[in-house]
Symmetry: C2
Subunit: 382 residues, 2 copies
């Protein structure tokens, strides 16, 4: 299958590209290095300096014999994106090409404006490239569980039947996000749903939880194939940050009470989910929404698990509650459905002590490269 | 009160500016003539060539002695908008500065992209100018009833309590619009709601139905103060188009069966509603949503009323069903609440035979200027 991976230099994009290429698909990756540039601007670079996309593809080719096509282009620019669709004629497009940091989007006007325009225009252009050049192409879009926020009712997979005054109808599940970044994903879903209804395109919107992990089936062949591992407050996800804090011997910093519950998943499960969505595409005129995570934890529980695993291997791990820089509920109801991907065949990799230990040992290899000043919150909401 | 009217050259913007200026407020109007430019590009110019904003303000000043400040600026450009906020320090901002045509937004990529970026960035910039320079300022935003679409349940005023699996919460009423233009208004509301929660700004989002009419209390003083009267398929609203067809002696063209029900209102009631919202502002941290229309009609009923009124004054009016260029339901449930503005004091001007007759007579003055080629649909959905 011809698979176009937009945002192919990202934490998920690059492992996705390798995954599909290793399994015999024709893969083209596209990126404009926005994340690398923003990480450099905000002193948020990854733990390990990753090779650029051309270098990554060369290394991957050297160890596997497989070829990944690389294009440096800006998906928020329609003419650049159209050109790639016309050249490659993808059967599936996997769209990760968004500014991915919630804290970045909350720094101020400029960062919020950049996030809004990059993300909306990238999604808008993907829709139009598909409509015009490959109307049968399956769009797999990475949304986020953060679109739903923390409602006081069970979170369904994308849709809800509402009964009201004796009548009923089916609607997109109500969404109310906690950052501008997450709000752009709400807007993305609205745009996709409009154009699905209008043009009958096929779209899978994967509402993903925070991802953790440094390894996939493809990363073992060469240490330079490692995913981008951000551990700072801006581009790092919470578990990755805790791992680095544990290794660096600084307290795991819990925002507020740590009662914030979210659904998490292993990077390997992201790849499984995307593969499942790819093999079982949405129908024409369908916006299929799947909640993509495997387990729910509170931030405090995550920290506790990292502490236990760290102490088991001789690290001295402590926890510290700090003022919450975000506006979010620290105690709330949270029960999100996530049956769809399991029914499609997902076999979860759960967050066991062994898994945490393995990640900690991997981070320990890079202990000297940890910049401790990156891990404390530098961005406050509002 | 210092009132900033964004989109002050529009069908609603200019009458709004005159209304508030006539009543002793300090008014500044801002426009970049986007609508005029798009109308010229698409052969959709108004029935009467309206003076430009500076000319309008001069004429208004000559007949009333009142001064309306005019600024030609682009609200989708933050630095241009910021400058006006810093100069004028508005207490209320009335935000009409959006590309207002659903058919225009459906022509193709370029028009859709322009609509998306203009509308989202204008709203985004208004939010940020308020946050940074006048955090107490009341934002009155014109949304549209079209955000709700045509759900199979009663449409509430902006919010709905959802009970689900034994728990409940309050959410934005689900929205699912029928054009890209209307979808941008859905996205506007999402953005406003996010920043209301985050920064506690005060916002009223007026979900308005299609407006009709050529007169307000201020337009009588000089014929050049008339609102922009578009009657074409792109910038004209349905009733205005029917009036022109009746006067021109061509059939009133009903899209499909004409069972499309919407809530309509008189231009004079738009002014009343905006005035009421202005005098009774939203609280800090409140997104107040009001459904702004006075009566529900199907398109067929509207056409029938114009036929009757037209025949009464000697016009020969016929109806013609034509293929619907839009993707929309032609028969559907529709029951939209609209009690909020009535409770605040709105006294509706209803669509009586006399009102239609008066509008028809006004259009008859300009009969020779009607371009019959503009009234048939030129834009198809999908």
């Amino acid at each position: 299958m011809r698979i176009l991976v937009l945002g192919g230099d990202g934490y998920l994009g690059w492992p996705t590209a390798m995954h599909f290429s290793a399994r015999g698909n024709e893969v083209m990756v596209v990126d404009n290095y926005l994340r690398r540039n923003l990480a450099r601007e905000t002193r948020s670079e990854a733990l390990v300096r990753n090779p650029n996309l051309h270098e990554r593809a060369s290394i991957f080719n050297a160890v596997t014999g497989k070829k990944i096509e690389v294009r440096i282009a800006d998906c928020s620019n329609a003419s650049e994106l159209d050109e790639l669709f016309l050249e490659f004629h993808p059967e599936t497009v996997i769209h990760y090409a968004e500014q991915p940091s919630a804290p970045y989007s909350m720094i101020g006007y400029r960062e919020a404006q950049r996030t809004l325009n990059n993300n909306l225009n990238a999604t808008f252009n993907v829709i139009w490239s598909v409509i015009r050049y490959v109307p049968e192409c399956h769009v797999i879009k990475l949304g986020t569980m953060g679109e739903y926020g923390t409602p006081n009712i069970d979170i369904e997979e994308g849709w809800i039947d509402i009964k009201h005054n004796g009548r009923s109808d089916r609607f997109l599940f109500p969404r109310q996000a906690g950052s501008l970044y997450h709000t752009t994903k709400v807007l993305d879903t609205d745009l996709l749903w409009f154009y699905v209804r209008l043009y009958g395109i096929r779209v899978t919107d994967l509402m993903q939880g925070p991802v953790y992990g440094l390894e996939t089936a493809e990363t073992g062949a060469d240490s330079q194939l490692m995913p981008n591992f951000h551990y700072d407050d801006i581009f790092g996800t919470v578990l990755n940050r805790f791992l680095v804090q544990a290794v660096a011997g600084i307290p795991l910093t819990i925002y507020g009470k740590g009662g914030q519950v979210r659904g998490y998943l292993n990077l390997q499960d992201t790849l499984q989910c995307v593969e499942l969505a790819c093999r079982q595409p949405a129908s024409k005129g369908e916006l299929r929404i799947l909640n993509q995570f495997t387990e729910q934890f509170s931030v405090y529980e995550l920290a506790e698990r990292v502490r236990e695993a760290g102490n088991d291997i001789g690290l001295k791990v402590s926890l510290q509650h700090i003022a919450n820089p975000r506006k979010e509920k620290e105690e709330h109801y949270y029960n999100a459905k996530h049956a769809g991907l399991i029914e499609m065949g997902l076999k979860p990799h759960l967050l066991t002590g062994d898994v945490i230990e393995r990640m900690l040992r991997r981070v320990m290899e890079y202990r000297s490269m940890i910049d401790k000043e990156k891990v404390l919150p530098r961005v406050r909401w509002g």
